[in-house]
């Protein structure tokens, strides 16, 4: 298995896609919508970029196609669903730790200034 660190820092697009998959399995359009909602319409993953990134995320082993389908009522049969792999989860965790660390450093600095 490739080392987690080799993926850090994650590309913005990748991070957003993986963040969307952190909860439940999603199809491409779903990912697009979720990112749009989450960022208040500021980040839009354009379709070609979205699927190009999905392809590369699969090649990198961070996500995979999901065999589980949602409830038949909600299932769109034509669509492929994606989920995080184990590696993907670890990479996502590592990335969010990295970001937290950055935030922490910023807060410490702010704290020092306040003194």
């Amino acid at each position: 298995m490739p080392k987690v660190e080799t993926f850090l820092p994650l590309k913005t697009t990748w991070f957003h896609i993986m963040l969307s998959l952190a909860g439940e399995d999603q199809h491409g359009y779903g990912i697009m919508q979720e990112v749009l909602d989450r960022t208040g319409g500021k980040v839009r993953l354009w379709p070609a970029t979205l699927y190009g990134s999905l392809k590369r995320l699969i090649e990198a082993g961070l996500i995979e196609e999901s065999g589980d389908r949602p409830k038949p009522a909600l299932d769109d049969a034509r669509r492929r669903y994606y989920r995080l792999t184990r590696l993907g989860r670890r990479v996502l965790d590592a990335e969010s730790e990295r970001l937290q660390e950055l935030v922490r450093i910023l807060q410490v600095k702010r704290g020092l200034e306040a003194l």
């Binding site: 199809h27 491409g28 359009y29 697009m32 839009r44 354009w46 379709p47 070609a48 970029t49 979205l50 699927y51 190009g52 999905l54 392809k55 034509r78 669509r79 492929r80």
Partner: protein
């Protein structure tokens, strides 16, 4: 608007690579559709544009990523088939490298213009005496200007090093030997060169009797004077005489024959003391065609018309002055293009270029055929792989691209290796010191154009030959290929297939190359051979010119009379003799002799004899036995040829031409007013590069020669090179020190110059031939190597493909010998067919070339009868080719039928 955007989006989405579409095509399409509705409703036009821009940018990225995969895959496949990769890369590298170096040399020598010259196309060159040159130059209707020059000739120069301005500064005098041209004052203006500093020569200023001046090249100024800014106006000593530097040439200008660069230019008006080459009234001698005459053609005059006009002028001049024997011979003027690196007659140009094209074409052709062959073999071998990939859903286009990527990778690797090889070979070439007395510069920097053409052809061939099999192998009927496995291509093996044709063509091409190169090599060698019964390293040649050292004629004659005897005393000296030219030098047979008949017969006049003037015991010093009669002795040197008949020695060719089979001893010969008596007969000694009659006649190794004794008048008027003292020494002794001592004891002021061994002397005469022998030999061998690589590769492949068939045969009871024979027979048929074609082609090409040119003619004539080559070359190639078949054939005879059958 929305609909237009949708249509563009669709188009772009459909243009994505096949594999991407298979997986994501539908999703991309759907999501795009939904997004477009959404965007249009909420955000309008700008976001629609962003959507389209996004897909337009992703499209090439997807293709690039696929290309990267293809390359990685191709790289892995090539690594997995190292033999295939090696054959391909090696073939291309050798083909490109050798063809480039070789054609570059030609281009640099023949097609490149003289650096520094203005309108070099209008310059023409001929050999002429100075008075004739002056008359030619005055033909205002033909030429806008003319200049004569002599050279390259050596100058001993020395200058006072003033302080640190010269290299190695610190004061004192430095003597160096440089080569330059002795030129008429118009030299620079005719070529169109102006001085970068100072002035060039001027007919108005540089007159006989004016203060001696020299003009130096930029190279001289940079390298020997350290680019001294005050160089112009300085005094340097040229051959011991002071002269003023009046000008420095432009960069890159190295005289009118740049292949033998001139660093210094001295006007013909210089005093004789400064330029000994002017001795003997050279400027006014009408019969010495020593000068190169360079003319600039007047507008509208062609080389041919100028040639014809000069012919008439020459005839008139000959009529005016010289003996009547002369004009009868109808001497002709040959004008050569004068503005090139080296003068090559324009008639010879197509032949020389044809030669170059033929050989480079063959080399590149063989390289390409190698490539085609292995590509075809490999494509057949990969049918199954291709079929499997097609059946699991790879697109045909993608597969072709994949196969093509491999070809391109292979071709570019080969191309890079070829370029490296070309530069490496060229730098190796440059390091070869050409062993000639005159410095020669062979510029073999790979010519940019030649390199590009060679690379382009080979890479195009690599790709093309990769494409054809890719197209056919992806068009296969999947089901049958998968079922049959590798069996299918067996059918093609014995048919008159493309691959068999290529193999035949390859053998034929290689043999042609080998033969043509062989003809040249052998032709050159027969022309180069000298035969002496001792090691030519053991003969030392020394030039002496006592008259130019201040001796009177009488004193010089006395010196030479006693010299051999004195030198014999030195340790290690076996024999000493004299001659007025080095032995085995090129001869020109221009003398006409009359064999005086015995009473009752008719006199016989024969043309085309060479004359050599030699001292006592000349032949025994060369360890050549007299066939009949005697050779010259000391008494002959004292004969005054005016009243009595001079004794002469003939070589066998001369005796045959003059007297047929009759005994020549004591017969009489006449040459105009002089009479000779034959005292001896000697076998033919070869004289490489000799020619009979006119200057441009064919070179022949043996020429009818009459040997005259050196007499007192010869000693009084030594030739420019001085009298040659030939000393044969015992093996392994350093006799030279002793010789120097003896000479110093005779007279310490006597200058020995041009000291060299006979071996060096012969090399010097034949150096161009030796170089061409190496080059052609190299080309022949590379062709051979290429062909063997190709044949071995192809046979190995086809045998490997037939493992199953052979396995069945063995399982059915075929013996190993039978299998071996079968494989060898099939290879052998192709080799024999190719050899026969190549033999005809090679001999035909040689005939055509020899008919077309007097330059290559004689070598071809000599060599095309050489049994060693005619039988040896095909045999060599065929046996190597059969060996190339044998190795894989033997391997397949060892096939274990069970394993072979199970594997399929």
């Amino acid at each position: 608007m929305k609909r237009l955007a949708m249509r563009i989006y669709r188009r772009l989405a459909l243009a994505f690579p096949h594999e991407f579409q298979m997986i994501y095509g539908a999703d991309v399409m759907d999501v795009g559709q939904e997004a477009i509705d959404d965007l249009w409703a909420q955000h309008g036009f700008v976001d629609l544009l962003r959507l389209l821009a996004d897909i337009a940018v992703r499209l090439p990225i997807e293709y690039l990523s696929e290309l990267r995969q293809d390359l990685a895959y191709a790289f892995r496949t090539l690594l997995k088939a190292p033999g295939f990769a090696a054959v391909g890369i090696l073939s291309l590298a050798l083909g490109i490298g050798i063809a480039t170096v070789w054609s570059s040399e030609f281009i640099n020598l023949i097609l490149r213009d003289m650096p520094g010259a203005k309108n070099p196309d209008r310059l023409v060159l001929t050999k002429s005496s100075y008075p004739y040159f002056e008359r030619f130059r005055d033909q205002r209707s033909l030429f806008t200007g003319g200049a004569a020059y002599l050279g390259p000739i050596p100058f001993n120069i020395s200058f006072q090093s003033s302080g640190a301005s010269f290299k190695g500064g610190g004061g004192g005098t430095k003597t160096e030997r440089v080569f330059g041209h002795l030129v008429s004052p118009e030299y620079f203006s005719v070529i169109g060169v102006s001085a970068s500093r100072g002035r060039t020569f001027d007919a108005q200023i540089d007159k006989p009797g004016s203060a001696p001046v020299v003009f130096i090249s930029d190279r001289f100024w940079q390298e020997r004077m350290n680019a001294d800014p005050d160089a112009v106006g300085r005094t340097i000593h040229v051959n011991g005489q002071p002269a003023t530097i009046v000008g420095i040439g432009p960069r890159d200008f190295l005289g009118a024959t740049p292949i033998a660069p001139a660093e210094m230019f001295v006007p013909v008006t210089s005093p004789i003391a400064m330029v000994p080459e002017l001795a003997g009234d050279m400027i006014h001698k009408r019969d010495a065609k020593d000068f190169n005459a360079l003319f600039r053609l007047a507008p509208g005059v062609t080389l041919k018309s100028a040639e014809a006009a000069l012919d008439t002028v020459t005839r008139n001049l000959d009529d005016e002055t010289l003996d009547p024997a002369r004009h009868a011979k109808g001497r002709r003027i040959t004008l050569l293009p004068g503005g090139k690196m080296a003068p090559v007659p324009s008639e010879a140009l197509p032949v020389v270029l044809g030669m170059m094209m033929l050989l480079t074409g063959l080399i590149i052709g063989i390289a390409c055929m190698n490539l085609a062959n292995i590509q075809l073999a490999r494509a057949t071998a990969r049918r199954r792989e291709v079929a499997i990939r097609l059946s699991v859903g790879a697109s045909r286009f993608r597969l072709i691209r994949q196969l093509l990527t491999e070809s391109v990778l292979l071709a570019s690797a080969g191309g890079c290796a070829g370029v490296l090889l070309a530069y490496w070979a060229a730098s190796g070439f440059k390091r070869i010191k050409v062993p000639v007395s005159v410095p020669v510069e062979l510029n073999v920097t790979p010519d940019w154009h030649a390199l590009m053409i060679a690379v382009a052809i080979s890479v195009a061939a690599g790709i093309g030959f990769g494409l054809a099999p890719a197209l056919t192998s992806t068009r296969t009927d999947l089901a049958s290929t998968l079922k049959e496995g590798a069996l299918q291509q067996l059918r093609g093996y014995r048919r008159f297939g493309l691959r068999n044709l290529i193999m035949v063509a390859q053998v034929a091409g290689s043999l042609m190359l080998l033969l043509v190169a062989g003809f040249l090599v052998i032709g050159n060698q027969t022309a180069n051979k000298i035969d002496v019964g001792f090691n030519p390293l053991n003969m030392i040649l020394i030039s002496l010119d006592p008259v130019r050292d201040g001796y009177s004629a009488q004193r010089a004659a006395n010196l030479f009379e006693h010299l051999p005897e004195r030198l014999q005393r030195a340790a290690g000296v076996q024999q000493v003799t004299l001659a007025d030219a080095p032995p085995f030098s090129p001869l020109v047979g221009t003398s006409t002799l009359t064999a005086l008949s015995k009473p009752g017969g008719a006199d016989q006049v024969v043309q085309g004899f060479a004359k050599e003037i030699i001292g006592a015991a000349y032949f025994s010093a060369l360890s050549v036995k007299m066939v009949e009669g005697r050779e010259f002795n000391e008494r002959d040197q004292n004969i005054d040829g005016k009243n009595t008949a001079l004794p002469v020695v003939l070589n066998q060719s001369a005796a045959r031409e003059l007297f047929g089979n009759a005994d020549p001893i004591e017969r009489r010969i006449a040459e105009s007013s002089r009479a000779y008596e034959v005292v001896g007969l000697v076998k033919d000694l070869s004289a490489p590069l000799s020619s009979r009659g006119s200057d441009d006649g064919p070179e022949i190794p043996v020429i009818p020669t009459v040997y005259l004794p050196l007499t007192r008048s010869d000693f009084a008027r030594p030739p420019i090179e001085g009298i040659i003292v030939m000393v044969r020494t015992s093996q392994g002794t350093d006799a030279l020190a002793g010789i120097r001592r003896e000479l110093a004891a005779l007279d310490p002021n006597l200058v020995m110059f041009n000291v060299r061994t006979l071996a060096e002397e012969v090399d010097r005469n034949t150096v161009m031939k030796t170089i061409s022998t190496i080059v052609y030999g190299g080309i022949g061998s590379f062709g051979l190597i290429l062909a063997i690589i190709g044949l071995a590769g192809v046979t190995a492949y086809s045998v490997a493909r037939r493992r199953r068939e052979i396995g069945i045969r063995i399982a059915l009871g075929a013996r190993k010998g039978q299998v071996l024979r079968m494989v060898m027979r099939e290879g052998g048929t192709l080799v024999i067919a190719g050899s026969a074609l190549g033999f005809l082609g090679g001999v035909g090409a040689a005939r055509a070339l020899s008919a077309a040119s007097s330059v290559f003619g004689p070598s071809f004539v000599e060599a095309s009868h050489d049994p060693l080559l005619l039988i040896g070359a095909p045999l060599l190639l065929a046996s190597l080719a059969m060996f190339a078949c044998y190795v894989p054939a033997r391997r397949c005879a060892k096939i274990d039928p069970m394993i072979a059958l199970r594997q399929e």
